[in-house]
Symmetry: C2
Subunit: 205 residues, 2 copies
């Protein structure tokens, strides 16, 4: 079975990317990361890519629309994984890769998502709202912000003494499980999108 | 220690009320339900109250503002539990009982809550959105709809073959644990409201 070619877009340290690389290393995913693109030249994710012998590309924010698409097409990428990518994607790019872009968001969508909710802001909003449960969501990207069909979600308890920082750490732990699992399901052909619903083979109808 | 006097407002079958009565019967709650009020004369919750020797009152929707308050004051109620009550409460009533009205909502607030989200509609919205996690929330009532400080939340997994009906059944199961637990915490003086945050004694700072 031909391996699925994965392209990853990352703005930061890339621990979510690492979780996918680790799962690939353990032979759990029928795929390989062929290129890592960052909108920040100093992103440690680029260093991670180089360490794994993966092509690492810095792409200026202004070129993020057509530039990213050209790079991914050049590398014959099948599926794009956003592992903490902060630049808004070009609409045409999203259309071209419809149903083939996977994003992870650090809350239980539709709570604490959409414009302005990224990174630590998500967790600060959750703590200030006073929720007792938060979590993470892996979803396909559509033309909205955090609005595409949901692949996987998992919950974490918010404790009375949690701050945005401690909650972020708890949620990151489950992100590191959810993202590789979603990529695994995608690469084994187990995901089917029906409107807003993502069907997972072997799970219900 | 004096028992906390509980008044319950219910529109339907009252299984959530029953879960509180059962917990009281097991000696878990330092409180007693002294009156059950329904806006529907045929609500089975009224029958449940009579079976337990509790005062059962039908209150016409039009009298729900001042009528309910007079009844609760007459019975010297300390805390009001909304166990599936569909009439919007009078603003003055909510003010008078600030921090003393507990509601249960069948989703993880702030998802699938607010105006128009009640009963089965909540679960239909969750299933149609395609979430993989839902849950229930117990919260204090403020002047908004489902917007008050959150006491407890718990999550349930949404399966691929879940319908609004099957999801409702799953969530109801956790409602029957969350509501008595929240009432228990209230009646033991373990809850403290700080702005939007509900602090629970013995849990963090």
């Amino acid at each position: 079975m031909r391996k699925v070619r994965i392209g990853a877009l990352v703005s930061g340290g890339g621990t979510n990317l690492q979780s996918v690389l680790d799962a690939i290393g353990r032979g759990e995913i029928n795929g390989e990361v062929v290129v890592v693109i960052s909108d920040r030249p100093e992103a440690y994710a680029l260093e991670r890519a180089r360490k794994h012998g993966i092509k690492a590309v810095h792409m200026d924010r202004k070129k993020c629309g057509t530039g990213i698409q050209a790079e991914l097409e050049g590398m014959q990428v099948d599926v794009v994984v956003l592992a903490g990518f902060l630049t808004i994607l070009d609409r045409d790019f999203v259309k071209a890769y419809e149903g083939r872009i996977i994003n992870i968001h650090p809350s239980l969508i539709p709570a604490f998502c959409g414009k302005g909710f990224y990174g630590e802001k998500v967790h600060r909003a959750a703590v200030e709202y006073g929720v007792k449960v938060s979590g993470a969501t892996v979803h396909f990207v559509d033309e909205g912000t955090d609005s595409g069909p949901i692949i996987l979600q998992a919950a974490v308890a918010v404790a009375g003494d949690d701050t945005a920082e401690t909650l972020a750490a708890k949620v990151l732990e489950i992100e590191h499980k959810l993202l590789p699992e979603a990529v695994r399901l995608y690469c084994s052909g187990s995901l089917r999108i029906e409107g807003r619903i993502v069907r997972i083979s072997g799970e219900g109808c």
